[in-house]
Symmetry: C2
Subunit: 315 residues, 2 copies
């Protein structure tokens, strides 16, 4: 299949690996790119010079296109951007912030820019800011999430009717049939997080990966709603946040009491109770830790089987 | 198309109208049945003798199959069941309670029983209770909803791999492409609420229908989480509930302060600020009040266009 997404990035499959803190370094990103998708180095959990190292390793590990995910609220954003440009990165996904300021800055350097949104309203604003494509991410997605709580099923058709540029669906997509469903709803590609977070090539701690294989329905929740909503696993950290929020604690109090580095503690160091464990609802369908090429091959096979099953389906 | 759902009910399209309080009387139900779907009289907002009247009127208004939705927590449940059996209703959808007690009771009278769930766990329990099919309803759905907050995109594949009986998807489905997506995820039929709630034949107040046409993203929320979660429009009633919950009010306090009859006040009497207005996220895609046959014809046409668009789509 060739479409606007495969052409935009020069990839075989319209399958993009979401940039994830503590999971998506050069190893995961290049595994996805080598398997025919688009890998993204998640810079959100990296020092600027660590990002440089990952970009350089990625360039050696693949000849295929790859990109970098940049949370626009990153404290040393200017340094990060400098490195991305210096290292000749060709694709940037921006998230958690306004694309207005940075889109033309990147594009002037020949970089393709995609922005992640959680509403049709911000998809429209991103289009107006000149981005090359949009990722629309639903409520079921892991990690940072929108305040509107709009699910992928309702978000994608609404965004599709609102913008004309290429649309990538995210949230709840971890299988070939879900990719097909996203396609039916109007997306031209998908961004996948959870199903890649527990791959062999993910840099997440093995204890976190093993926990993901055991997650059941209702065991992730949208939390941290007072600060910045994020879907996380219900553990002791989650309970602490919930208690503070229910007691009416202020944003500052919550931030102070929780302390810093909880995401690293959980996902990278494997402290499953005290750490912040970001993962999507689709984790309830994930049961094995496998290499990326196996995961993507299975998705492609299931997509094609779904296509065959629904062929000439008419009401 | 013929599948297990169309055969189970003897209908043309695997499109089922969800039983909705204050919206789905005999008029809406028979309009859906006459258009080739399956209409359901929502008994949740009716006195038992009112339900009898609606069943009798429905029998006169259509020769096609129709059913009754029964919330199992209904106070005079035994009287309701007596009337359903006396009036010779052939299809019952049960919700909001355990199907264990009532399934065989209905089936012994030759009635087809479908139970509504919000998790694979309860889908399995429903299958074990012997129901003929299951409706799995996602977080985006209007009205009563599950505590797991699982969205349709993640719920349907999980339920599909858990049960063998026919599966109907609900939540966020209001268009032909969404029906197609539900199909791709593993459902054999869909249950539709919001898109029918604002039809001409719905018994909802015209002011409520007009408000639905104006709802935007993020303007419905899952509320009443302390009592029984329900997705409603953000109005003064919603703010009252939110304030009480944030103050840490008990279930009894909340119930007392809110008072009774708020759903009737909002949806049936058209008090858009003081009433409880149940509707799904998909309302942000609904813009016109139309007759049921037009709505269903458009869904069928869009489903077939989606099928054509995706034909022979391969990765």
């Amino acid at each position: 299949m060739e479409n606007r997404i495969t052409k935009l990035f020069g990839i075989k499959y319209p399958i993009i690996q979401g940039g994830m803190v503590w999971c998506s370094g050069w190893k995961l990103a290049t595994a996805v790119s080598n398997a025919g998708g688009l890998g993204l180095i998640g810079s959100g959990s990296m020092h600027p010079e660590t990002l440089r190292e990952h970009i350089q390793k990625a360039k050696k590990a693949t000849d295929n296109p790859f990109g970098v995910n940049v949370p626009l609220l990153y404290p040393q954003i200017d340094k990060l951007i400098e490195i991305i440009i210096e290292e000749g990165v060709k694709i940037v996904f921006t998230s958690a912030g306004s694309p207005k300021k940075y889109t033309s800055l990147f594009q002037n350097k020949g970089i393709t820019v995609v922005h992640v949104v959680s509403s049709a309203l911000f998809a429209k604003k991103s289009e107006e800011a000149g981005v090359d494509a949009v990722v629309a991410e639903g409520f079921e997605a892991g990690g940072h999430n929108g305040r509107e709580e709009t699910t992928t099923m309702t978000l994608i058709p609404k965004v599709r009717e609102t913008i004309n540029i290429p649309l990538i669906a995210a949230g709840g997509i971890g299988s070939g049939k879900a990719i097909y469903a996203a396609n039916a709803l109007g997306a031209e590609g998908v961004q996948i997080g959870s199903a890649f977070a527990l791959s062999e090539e993910s840099s997440a701690h093995i204890a976190f990966k093993e926990l993901i294989t055991k997650i059941n329905e209702g065991e992730t929740m949208l939390s941290l709603k007072k600060i910045a909503p994020a879907r996380i696993i219900k553990n002791r950290f989650y309970e602490q946040v919930t208690n503070l929020e229910q007691k009416g604690a202020s944003i500052e109090e919550i931030k102070t009491l929780l302390g810093k580095g909880r995401a690293k503690k959980g996902m990278f160091e494997g402290n499953l109770e005290e750490g912040e464990l970001e993962i999507g609802q689709v984790s309830s369908q994930l049961t094995t830790i496998r290499p990326i090429h196996t995961i993507i091959e299975e998705m492609v096979a299931e997509y094609n089987a779904t296509s065959k099953r629904l062929a000439k389906h008419k009401l």
